[in-house]
């Protein structure tokens, strides 16, 4: 479980997060949704410790992560996997080497053991080719799969995903969403997904946190969204013409 307690963050005079509290449950896909510029990426990066928060506290299970020093945070981060919006794969390494990288740095496995783990992980994300290609030589969907594989190869306790479907076609998006859900359930990890893709919300949103103008505005499950009377949430969720038509037919 990851818990944010009254966290605030500002850049210069601009308040980006204003007293946000939220709990992200273990074994569930926890989604953070909101418009572009609402503060959800800053929230995600603050939870990860990439942004220093101005106020509040962040807990990873029972540990107050926000009050830890650099080296103590490093130990927690070894249990964290992250899927970045653009993949953030290392350009100079092949697909296999990218996934193997955390094993190279943090384990004492032999080369063949590491390769076995890498191949198993790549199979788990349904990638059975292109092992020796570089990130610039594979498609966007494959980049995301490799990125998921790299994030889970060390069997993390916490998985963070920043806009996992950005730049992907609807079919590949569903595949990636289901992969994330599958991994979350199989490993029993705390997964936090930052998205503004409503398909993802309806597909895998077990808990949904809606951020509006830097504030925690609404919280519930994907089923609660449809019956909510929260105006800002409805404006966001039913913004597209297709969603409006679907709502009228409900």
């Amino acid at each position: 479980m990851i818990k944010a307690e009254n966290i605030s963050k500002h850049f210069d005079d601009h308040i980006v997060l204003d007293n946000v509290s939220a709990t992200f449950e273990t074994g569930k896909t926890n989604l953070i949704i909101g418009q572009s510029g609402s503060g959800k990426t800053v929230l995600l990066k603050s939870l990860l410790g990439l942004h220093q928060i101005d106020e509040g506290r962040i807990f990873y299970d029972d540990v107050c992560y926000s009050s830890l020093g650099f080296n103590e945070k490093k130990e927690i981060r070894k249990q964290v996997g992250m899927l970045f919006q653009g993949g953030a794969l290392f350009d100079s390494l092949t697909v296999v080497d990218n996934v193997k990288f955390p094993l190279d740095v943090f384990t004492d496995y032999s080369e063949s053991e590491k390769l076995d783990i890498v191949h198993d992980t790549l199979k788990k994300v349904r990638l059975d080719k292109a092992y020796d290609l570089y990130p610039s030589e594979i498609s966007g969907g494959m980049v995301k799969r490799v990125s998921i594989a790299r994030a889970i190869v060390m069997k993390p306790r916490y998985l963070f995903c920043d806009e996992p479907n950005s730049g992907l076609d609807p079919l590949t998006s569903v595949v990636i969403d289901n992969l994330i859900k599958e991994v979350t359930e199989e490993y029993g990890i705390t997964t936090i997904i930052n998205t503004h893709d409503m398909n993802s919300v309806m597909e895998i949103g077990e808990t949904v946190t809606f951020i509006y103008q830097g504030k925690m505005w609404w919280r519930g499950s994907k089923d609660d969204i449809l019956s909510s009377d929260n105006k800002e949430l409805n404006d966001f969720v039913f913004a597209s013409a297709m969603a409006k038509r679907a709502r009228q037919n409900m």
Partner: protein, 250 residues
Amino acid sequence: MFITKILSEIGRYMMLMGKVFSRPVKGMVFRRQLLDEMEKLGLNSVGIVAIISVFMGAVVALQMAINLESPFLPKYLIGYATRESLILEFSSTVVALILAGKVGSNIASEIGTMRITEQIDALEIMGVNSANHLILPKIIAAMIFFPLLTMMSMIVGVIGGYSIVFTVDMMTPDDFMQGLLSDFRPYLVFYGVSKMVVFAFIITSVSAYYGYYAKGNSLEVGRSSTQAVVSSTIVVLIFDMILTKLFFNY
């Protein structure tokens, strides 16, 4: 204002170096990177250094021959002055300036691109000290390999100067050779090579600093790359003066 900015940049550079000079997580990974960097930064610069050195050696010899043409000056002075120019300044300082352009821009743009594509964030989240992982192998590789380039430049430059003697009739090869061998002090080679060790550190660390703190988009990466070359060039020249004063105790 300007002074404050410089001091804050120096402070930030020092803090980065504090992160860089820590123990690498895995010796094997570090060794592999060190060899890669030696190839990228050193071996790949052999060609350009050799070409520039052979031509500069020839031009310096020609200029010496043209400008030292006097019945009161012995002909062997041409070879002597060529050798001294190459050993004292060209093969260390001028080669360092060339490497600041070639290697410095390469380092700044590589690390800068990693920064804006979140590859550095990915390392940090894994619990890897990104500054140490990315910058230390570059610094050590350059400090080992650049002095070898300096020695090669000295030899190739002298060969260039000697070769040109056969195409002009202002001096004989014997005169030139006599100059090359006269009053040779190995300490000067040590001085040139030692300067290059310091320059190698400056070029790699200053360029890495600009890349590491790049932000924004590809335009900003280009800007930090330019700034890296300009700053490392200036710092190399300042340290050239300081080291010359120190080595010759004036």
